[in-house]
Every structure is written in C-alpha cells, then in structure tokens.
C-alpha cells in the first residue's frame, strides 16, 4: 500500500473528528455514522428503484442523532446523487439547514464515501469511527461567496481573499474544485484526500504522465464508468 495513501487516510479521519466550520466534532462524527447507516436504508432503496424519486413516501432508517434535514441530505447524497435537483436542495435548506452546514455535510459525505469505498473495494472492514475532538466551529463564511453558477454559493477563484486560506491549484480551477468553496476548510480537507486517491492537481491535465501503478487510460476508464453508474453528468 502506498504510504502517502494511508497517511492521507489518517489525516482525513482526524479532520473528520475535529471541529469544522459550522459543525462541532461530535456532530461531524455523527454525520459519518449516519452516512454508514444510510447505506442500509430501506426507504433509500425504494427511492433508488423508483422511476420518480420524489414521489416515494417513507422514512429514512436513521441513527436518530441528527435533524430531519441533515438525514435527508445525507441519505439522498449517499444513495441517489445522480437524481438530486435544485428544488430538492432548496427544500433541505428550508427545513432549517444553513448553506454552510449543507456544504460541510456534503464534504463529509464525499470524504467518508471515498474512505469506506476504498476499504470495501479491497475487502477490508471500514475503519472504526474516530473519537470527536472538542472545540468550537470557526463559523467562517468567505466574503466572496456568491450563488451564481451552482445551486449553492461558490467562491470563484477571482473572488477568493487571503482570509479564505489556500483553495485553488490555479485560477482556472474547474467547478469540481469550487464545489465546496463556501466552506474553505472542507474544500482543503477533501482535496488533501482526493489528490492521493486520483492524481495531484498538477498532473490532472498531464495525460502523458502517470505516477500510479495503472496507466492513465486505465485510471480514466474506471473514473468514467463509476461516474456513469452514478448518472453524474459532470
């Protein structure tokens, strides 16, 4: 196993357990637990099988530690991400979740799904959830965040300020980089993990180079097939 990969996992779990920008450490670990519970949710399985995902009525199988809005966000993003809609995202916010909380939770879903899927793919048990770390969230909202290109506000590279901390590998960073930018720390935590799983930013468009044990076309065929199976249009 690459040591950079295992070390990135250690850092990711530590980040998940630490206080975030809008969520305390205990709530972040509760989100991780809910992500795992969501994978066994019978209601989500019904939704996934339905032609009309928003017509199915029922209740999520939940740990009971989070609000209804948080549970709905986590379960839908875990189980049927390709059929989310802007009106659905707005309905989740209307149930009492702030935009910052929404984005921070999405970042946690993305990290935990990556970590747990890696374990599953290699036949290893999922790692035990970490102990939450004490402390207060920073409650930092970037001054340049605007709702324009996506369903949630983003910080475009030209609108980033030093107080946001480092976010983008280049001023031309694609929208996938900008997705979590309303919560810069979530963006940094996510990409600190993703670069070790996929490719470092500086190599993403260097198709003539591969630092992995599989070729670049092999990497991209996996990426394309997984994205297609999720019905991800991006």
């Amino acid at each position: 196993m690459r040591t950079d990969l295992t070390e990135s996992h250690d850092r990711a779990w530590a980040a998940i357990a630490a206080p975030g920008t809008w969520l305390e450490g205990a709530r972040r670990v509760a989100v991780a637990a809910e992500i795992r519970r969501a994978r066994e949710c019978a209601y989500c399985a019904e939704i996934k099988a339905a032609l009309s995902p928003y017509a199915v009525k029922g209740k999520h199988h939940t740990t009971g530690r989070l609000s209804e809005a948080e549970v709905e966000l986590i379960h839908r993003v875990v189980n049927d991400p390709g059929r989310l809609t802007e009106s659905w995202s707005q309905s989740v916010l209307a149930r009492g979740l702030s935009e910052g909380e929404y984005v921070e939770i999405v970042g946690l879903v993305a990290m935990v799904m990556m970590l747990d899927t890696f374990s599953h793919a290699l036949g290893a048990p999922p790692r035990a959830l970490p102990e939450p770390q004490p402390g207060e969230p920073t409650r930092y909202r970037p001054s340049g965040a605007k709702k324009k290109a996506a369903w949630l506000p983003l910080v475009e590279p030209q609108d980033a300020v030093p107080a946001d901390g480092p976010m983008y590998p280049s001023p031309k960073a694609g929208y996938i980089y900008r997705g979590l930018s309303l919560v810069p720390q979530s963006l940094r935590d996510y990409w600190a993990l993703a670069f070790h799983h996929y490719l470092p930013a500086e190599l993403v468009y260097r198709f003539d180079q591969s630092i992995r044990a599989i070729s670049r076309p092999q990497t991209e065929v996996l990426a394309a097939r997984v994205s297609a199976l999720h019905q991800c249009a991006y």
Partner: protein
C-alpha cells in the same frame, strides 16, 4: 478525460462504452476486468467485488489493484460533490461544454440533464 488520455497515446476510444459497455479490442489493457471491478464496487456487492478484485489482482498485481481501488473510491466522492452542489455540467470539459461528447457517451440521458433547465453558468446570472 478518457478521450484525452487515449489521444495522448495516439488512440481513439468509442465513448459509448462508458454507458453501454466496451467492445473487445478496446486498446486499454484489462478493460473488462477494470469495468467489472468498478461496477461491483458501485453495486456494493461484496461477493462480486471479491471475485472482481481477485481477477484484477491477477492482472495488475497488488499495487495496480490498490490504485484501481483508490480511483474507484475517489469518484464516489467527486460525483457526490458535483451532484449535491449542482455545479454546471456544461463546464465539465476543462471549463467548456462538449455536447457532442455528452451525446456520444449517453450522458444526455442522465436524469440531471433530462430534467435540467440550465445550459451555462452565464444563464444563471
């Protein structure tokens, strides 16, 4: 990205394979085993994943298997950010739209595209 990575090596690939399966003769070594591994993991089918993993290990070795698993796992994260934040799919090709690629790959049949009224970020201002 798949198309570009192939072109760098002077090769082409039929993008319909992304949604319809790849034909024999695709110039990516062990493509069938790779795709079977990806599909098994996405399906969260432990027994199927175990079989696909052993097949892939036999073809790629341990380091190759780990990097295949890391890639498959990575895209379980990327897709969720893209779809939960609603970033514009019309910028997926290095900031540009590539409707011919979407059409060829079958992406235009995806729920998000079929139900979307969005065309470009500029339209949303």
């Amino acid at each position: 990205m798949l198309r570009e990575s192939m072109r760098t090596g002077g090769k082409e690939i039929d993008l319909r394979g992304v949604t319809q399966g790849f034909e024999e003769g695709t110039e990516i070594p062990h493509v069938a085993a790779l795709v079977e591994f990806a599909e098994a993991v996405v399906a969260r089918d432990a027994a199927r994943t175990a079989r696909a993993r052993e097949a892939l290990r036999g073809k790629l070795g341990e380091a190759g298997l780990v990097d295949a698993a890391a890639t498959v796992a990575a895209f379980h994260g990327f897709v969720r950010i893209a779809d939960a934040i609603g970033i514009p799919y019309t910028t997926a090709a290095r900031g540009e739209d590539a409707p011919e690629v979407r059409e060829r790959a079958g992406v235009n049949d995806f729920y998000r595209v079929r139900t979307s009224t969005t065309s470009t970020p500029a339209d949303r201002t």
